[in-house]
């Protein structure tokens, strides 16, 4: 057995081991990087004076009781609310409670379109939304309008501008 033959066998052995190692490495490569971990939320920004009353926001649901989305928030300047995955319209009940215990209720209606958003099969499915209109009924919300219609995983967007009247 000469040196050249030994060299050839060694080189082929290295190639074979590289093949096995490389395939193991490639098949083991898996990374999960989900950017949408905190859900998709619509961001509301309060305009004008800070709200003095305590604010509670609930989702109005068909054939079900309301469920609380925001509980007893004070000195509200901005807040974020989840949106329905597939509904065309979300109805929200805004309950204002003054320091003397007087309660007033406004209703906000948000219309939108919904889009499936995919990041990876490993990540939880999420929906992004495009706001089409927003209206309010009641006495405490004096103004509400869309600022940025795209509700997605960018938490810095100001989606809805809202102004309250302090009695």
């Amino acid at each position: 057995m000469n040196n050249q033959l030994i060299g050839n066998i060694a080189k082929r052995g290295i190639l074979l081991s590289l093949l096995v190692t490389g395939m193991g490495w490639i098949s083991s490569c898996s990374d999960i990087d989900c950017s949408v971990t905190n859900g998709v939320l619509a961001n509301y920004v309060v305009q004008g004076d800070t709200l003095q009353d305590t604010l509670t926001v609930s989702a109005i649901r068909e054939n079900r009781s309301d469920t609380v989305l925001l509980n007893r928030m004070v000195k509200t300047t901005k807040f974020s609310l989840p949106m329905s995955y597939s509904g065309d319209t979300d109805r929200l009940r805004f309950v204002f409670t003054s320091k003397t215990g007087v309660t007033t209720v406004d209703t906000v209606t948000v219309s939108k379109t919904n889009m499936s958003h995919f990041e990876s099969v490993d990540c939880s499915p999420v929906f992004f939304h495009k706001l089409t209109s927003v209206t309010a009924k009641g006495t405490r919300i004096s103004q509400i309008e869309i600022s940025n219609p795209n509700v997605d995983d960018d938490g810095t967007k100001e989606n809805i501008l809202i102004r309250f009247t302090n009695p």
Partner: protein, 233 residues
């Protein structure tokens, strides 16, 4: 004993001197005929040294193990044993459903790459080659994302999720390095390790594809590897 050692040293020194002396005339001759500029050997090999057809073994293994992969063939031209223009074409497939999320991704589409390798070895005619080069790849494809549906935890409804037939395309570049060895007769085998980076891409409204045929798992850059089995003629 000491006489013998002295004799041995004397004979060793003599042979050393004789060896040096024997080298001297040769050096002198070389010195006399040394040209003013270093003499360059003419490369006697022709321009076209042959071609090779082959396939990648990693892609099909990945397809069976990792639910995505590709079937690929390549054509490589040998120019002066130094330059190796190459065309690679194949079909990439992915069919993956995550057990936890229930979300699935499916695609199947052709792709191609074109590029050139350079044999970096000093002895370029050796049976072993160390190749460094680059590729540009492109694929136009459709992909499906499906799900059994998602329960909305707040509003209590069931939401349909997914998209069928989303259109995507991607242009990318690869920097490749690898080895190529003559195994037996015309049979060659070799590895390439590749750094791939996206140059441009278009995706469907739902989001970026989980897998791009010929490129691999999504993302702006990634590492890849091939193990090529070639028939060189």
């Amino acid at each position: 004993m000491s006489t013998m050692m002295v004799r041995k040293r004397t004979s060793l020194s003599a042979s050393l001197i004789l060896s040096l002396l024997s080298l001297l005339p040769v050096s002198a001759v070389h010195a006399q005929h040394r040209p003013s500029a270093p003499e360059r050997k003419e490369d006697a090999v022709g321009f076209f040294r042959g071609m090779a057809v082959g396939t990648d073994a990693v892609g099909p293994v990945m397809r069976s193990l990792a639910s995505y992969g590709q079937y690929e063939a390549l054509l490589r031209i040998n120019i002066k044993d130094r330059y190796f223009p190459v065309v690679e074409a194949g079909a990439g497939q992915a069919d993956k459903t995550d057990e936890t999320t229930g979300t699935g991704f499916k695609t199947s589409a052709p792709y191609f790459r074109i590029g050139c390798d350079f044999n970096m070895l000093k002895d370029k005619h050796d049976a072993y080659r160390f190749l460094v080069g680059g590729r540009v790849g492109y694929s136009s494809f459709q992909y499906d994302i499906y799900s059994p549906g998602i329960a909305d935890p707040i509003w209590g409804t069931q939401a349909a999720y997914g998209a069928v037939g989303s259109k995507g395309s991607q242009l990318w570049a690869e920097v490749a390095g690898g080895v190529d060895a003559k195994i037996w007769g015309p049979i060659h085998m070799g590895w390439t390790v590749r750094y791939k980076f996206r140059l441009s891409h278009k995706t469907g409204e739902i989001g970026e594809p989980w897998y791009v045929p010929g490129y691999g798992r999504g993302g702006s850059s990634r590492l890849g590897a091939t193990f090529n089995i070639l028939f060189e003629i």
